[in-house]
Amino acid sequence: MTQPNRLQSGGRIDRSKPLTFTYNGKQYKGYQGDTLASAILANGIDVVSRSFKYSRPRGIVAAGAEEPNAILQLGASEATQVPNVRATQQELFNGLVSQATNGWPNVDTDVMSIIGKVGGKMMPPGFYYKTFMFPESLWNTYESLIRKAAGMGRSPLENDPDFYDNVNQHCDVLIVGAGPAGLAAALTVARSGARVILADEQNEFGGNLLSTKETLDGQPASAWVNAVTKELRSYDDVMLLPRSTVNGYHDHNFVTIHERCTDHLSDIAPVNQARQRLHRVRAKWVVLATGAHERPLVYSNNDVPGCMVSGAVSTYINRYGVVPGNALVVTTTNDYGYQSALDWHDAGRKVVAVVDTRANPVGERIEAARQRGIKIITGSAVIEVQGSKRVSGVSVATISADGNKVTGSVTKLGADTVATSGGWSPVIHLSSHTGSRPIWNDEIVGFVPGKTVQKQLTAGGINGCYHTGAVLLEGLNAGLEAVANVGLNAAEVVLPTAEDVKEGAPMTLFHIPHLKPTSQAPKQFVDYQTDVTAAGIELACREGFESIEHVKRYTAMGFGTDQGKLGNINGMAVAAKALNKTIPETGTTIFRPNYTPISFGAIAGRNCGALFDPKRYSAMHMWHVERGAKFEDVGQWKRPWYFPQAGENMQQSLDRECLAVRQSVGILDASTLGKIDIQGKDAREFLGRIYSNAWAKLAVGKCRYGLMCGEDGMVFDDGVSACLGENHFLMTTTTGGAARVLEWLELYHQTEWPELEVYFNTVTDHWSTLTISGPNSRKLLSELTDADVTNENFSFMDWKQITVAGVPARVFRISFTGELTFEINVQANYGMHVWKQLFKAGAQYNLTPYGTETMHILRAEKGFIIAGQDTDGSVHPFDLGMGWCVSNQKPFSYVGKRGMNRQDCIRENRKQLVGIKTKDPKVVIPEGAQAVLDPKAPIPMPMVGHVTSSYWSAHLGHSIAMGFIKGGLTKMGETVYYPLADGTVIEAEICSPIFLDPKGERQNV
C-alpha cells in the first residue's frame, strides 16, 4: 500500500527500513524514524478520534507533546495494552498495533455524533449540574451512561509482562530540552567538567532544529547538532537521555525523568530490559530549555481534521517527509506562520493562500512567500472552516484592526488543510510545578516563569526567545551561569552563526471573530480534548464563574491528558475578553506534574509483588516453611500463625497446640520481639522515666514487665526488660513497635535528658528467641544444658547466662502463657541449631511448635494484654486494670503520669478491660463485637464497650474473651449483650480477665 502523503525524498526517516503497523485493524506502512502520527498522516488517514462530548471527528493537530486529539490505544495483546498514547510521541516500530479509542461502531462512522449534533446544544458547560436531578431514583442510570461515554482508552485486563526501573541520579546541572538552547548550555557546562544530565523527550537531540531547514555556520543545523552530541557523549560525567521526558520538578531541585527504554522497539520489552526507567534526579542547578508550543487560533470549526498548527505542518514535511494534505491555507497573526506555507510550497504542493490578520505585514518570510508567488491576504482571518471529516474549504473575512470583529465580506477558498499560528506559549510547566507562579509578558504575549526559590535557570523559548541565534546565546549564558554557580571555571564555547530571519511584529489575537456572536457561531474550539469552546467559556463567565480557576473547572478546560498545552492561554484570553479584563487580571495558569502522563508501573519501579514491602524473617524461618506453617503479617515480619498438621482445620491445630503447651511443652519463635540494648549508669533512671512502673530496685539477674505510655498517659507499648548488669539492660518491645520505641527513647534522650548517661542500640536481629513453655519445659531445657535450672536456682523472673545445646545463651524465665517458660536467647547465627536440637531432645515430650494464634489464646487465658490488640491508643494502665504496673512514688514524673491524671482520664465510668464469659460456653464472641446493656433498645443503640480478644479455650473447655465495658471493673457478674450483624445476640457475663491460674502457680513451679 502506498503512502499518498509521503515525499519521495527528504526528512530524517530511513526509507531503507520500511515498517508495518496496524491501525484500526488495517495494516499500513511507514519508515524507521516515523512517529505513529507521521505514519498515519503519510497514509492519508484523517480521522483519529471522536471528541468526548460532541463526538466530532478529530484529526492530528500537532507534532509533539501538545497533541490533544491523536490519543490512541496501543498494544498487540491483552497484557500489553496501553491506553491514551499520543501518536505524535510514539515512535513507529514493526508490528505496532493501534486503535482509535472512541466512536461506535468505529471512529469513521460514529452513531454518537448524531447525538452530539442534535444534543450538543443541550450540553453547554455545567449541564450536568443543571439536570439529571429528577427523578432522584434515575440518577444511577444517567450516571452509568455518562461514564460510558467518557474515558478514551481502556486498561489492560491482564498483568503487565514488563518490569520498570527506578534509578537515583545526582548532577551539577540538569538541562531539560536538547534544542539549540539546551545543547548550547550542555556544551558549555560539560566543557567545564561539571556533571551534566541532558534530557529530551524526543528520540533525537536537536529540538526544533530537527523540523526546519535552517542552517548553522552555513551547514544544515543537524551537522552542528551531531557535532555537539558527539562531543557531549565523549565526557564521562555527561549523561545523555533521549526519549526521556522531565515530567516533574519538585522541591529543592528534585526532578523526575521518565525514560522510555523500549517503547520504540516493540510491544513488549526485550528480555532483561526494563520497559521504562524513572530517573530520580537531584540536581544542583537546573536549566530549563523547554522551548515553546505554538498556539492555534480559535475560529469556527477549527477542529475539523486538516486543521493543524503551522509548525506541525513544517515538522511533518521537514522531519518526516510527509505533506499532510494537498491544498493549504495558512491563517496567522505572525511571520512564523508563513514558514509552513514555504515548506509546503517547496514540497511541491499547492498553497492556496496565507491569511494574515495584520494589515501590513513586513518581514523576510513574507517576502519569501511573495517571491514564490504565494497569495497573501492581509487584514483577514479564516473565520470558519467547512468540512466534517476533512477540511473542504475555508471562509476568509477581513477583520478589524483590534481583531474583535469581522468587517468585510466573506470569501470562500477551497483547501484541505489549514495551518494556524497565533504565536507561541513558552513551556513553563516545569517551572510552575514547584509552586512558582508564572508572570504574563505582554511583549511576547505569553506567560514566562515566575520568581522561584529553586536553583533554576531558563534559556530560549521558555523565555519567549525564538530566534535561533538568540536562543543559542541564551543557552550559552545559562550554561555559563550554571558553571559559575557550581563553582567551576568555564571553558570557551564558540557558538555557530545562525540565519538571521527578520520578522515583523506579531499581532496579539487569540479568538477570531465570526459574523455571528460567539454563542451562535459554529463551534470555536479552545480545548479540543475536553470539547471546550469559546462560547462555553463566555457562558461560564456569564454565569458568574469569573476566576480563571472557576472557568477551567466549570468548563473542564485544561483537564485533559494534554493539560491544556494548546488551549489554556486561548481560553484565558476568551475569558479575559468576556470579563473585560486583561489576561494577567483574569489569573494565571498553574501546571502540575506530570508534564506528560507516565505509566504507574514506571513510578512503582521494582516495588511490586514480592518486593512491594520487605518480608522480614527470623533465623528459623525456613524450618517453619518446611513444617507447613501458616504465616501472619505482623509489621513487615512473617510470623508463624499456626502449624497445621494433615487433615486439621485451623481450630483443631490451635486446640492441639494449646493443649501441648498446657500439658507438656510447646515452642514459639519469639525472635521478632523488639530488643534494645541499653548501657550506661543512668540506664535504670531512664527506664524509670519512660516506663510507668518502678525500676530503681531491679537487681542484676532479674526481669520486669513494663508499660510504656505517651505523654497523654495512653499505653502504646509493653514488654519485659532485664537487668543484665548494674549499667546494662535489655528492653523488649512488641514486634511492630520496635523501631518506634527505639526512636522514642532516643527522642527523650537527645532532646530532653541529654545529661543522662545512657546509650541505646537495637539488637532485635542479633538474638534469636526460642520460647519453650509448658510443664515439661524445664525437663526439656535440662536435656540441653548442664546448668542448674531448678526453681531454687533459677526462679521466675530471673535470667541466666548458660549454655544450651552447646551454644552460649541468655535464658529468661518469664512467661506469657502462664506456664513454666524459658525464653532462650542465642546469637541468631545459632538460632536454627538450637531450635533443631530442642526438637531432637523434645520428641519425648511431644515438643509442639506453636504460632502467634496459640500464643494469643494462651495469654488471653491468663488475662495478659497485647498492645495494639487490647489497646487502641485511648486506654491508660488503669483502664486496663493494670494499676499494679503504675508507680506514682517515683521522684521523676515519668512519661504518661501527668497525662493519665487529666480530668477525662480519672472520671468514673471509663471503658475498662474485663473478662467476658458467654452464657453459652460453646459460643465464641467475634472479636470486635459491641457490647450493649439493652439489646432491644432502638437504633442508635447505646454501646458500652467492645470485645478485643476472644477465643475458644481448649484447655478450659469454654470460650474466653476480653473486652472493654464502661465501668467494667465495678460490674463483675453483670450481664451484657453482643448483638451481631446476623441478628443474633450473644449474652455474656462480666468477669475477671484471668481465666486460668489467678495465683500464677503454674509459671512459678
Binding site: N168, H250, D251, H252, N253, F254, R282, G435, V453, E711, D712, E743, E746, L747, Q750, T751, E752, P754, S893, K897, R898, G899, R902, Q903
Partner: protein, 94 residues
C-alpha cells in the same frame, strides 16, 4: 522531596532518610505534676503551625539517628538553616 543537610553527617541527604517530628523547642515542663490540665494539654497538642518561618524537629532516621532542628519556610519549603539540639536558630520570623 527535600534535600536536607544533616549537621552531624555534614552533608546533604535525601528526605527519605529523615522523619519530621514536629514543632521544635517544645520543652517538657520541668514539673509536669504542677501543670494544670490546660497547661499540659497545650504542651502536648497546641502548636504554632505558622505559615512562613517554622522551626521544626527532624531525625536522621536512616542515617546517624540524631535529632536536629530545621528552620524552614512552610510556604515555599525553602530550608533556611539546620542546627543541632541545644542550639538556637539564627533565622527567626520577624
Amino acid at each position: 522531596m527535600f534535600h536536607i543537610y544533616c549537621p552531624h553527617c555534614a552533608e546533604y541527604r535525601e528526605e527519605e532518610e529523615f522523619h519530621a517530628v514536629g514543632q521544635a523547642h517544645i520543652a517538657r515542663p520541668a514539673d509536669p505534676d504542677a501543670c494544670s490540665d490546660k497547661e499540659w494539654g497545650e504542651y502536648m497538642f497546641f502548636r504554632k503551625n505558622p505559615r512562613g518561618i517554622h522551626h521544626e524537629l527532624w531525625v536522621h532516621a536512616a542515617g546517624c539517628r540524631k535529632f536536629f532542628n530545621i528552620t524552614r519556610d512552610t510556604q515555599n519549603y525553602d530550608i533556611k538553616e539546620v542546627y543541632k539540639i541545644g542550639e538556637k536558630p539564627s533565622v527567626v520570623a520577624e
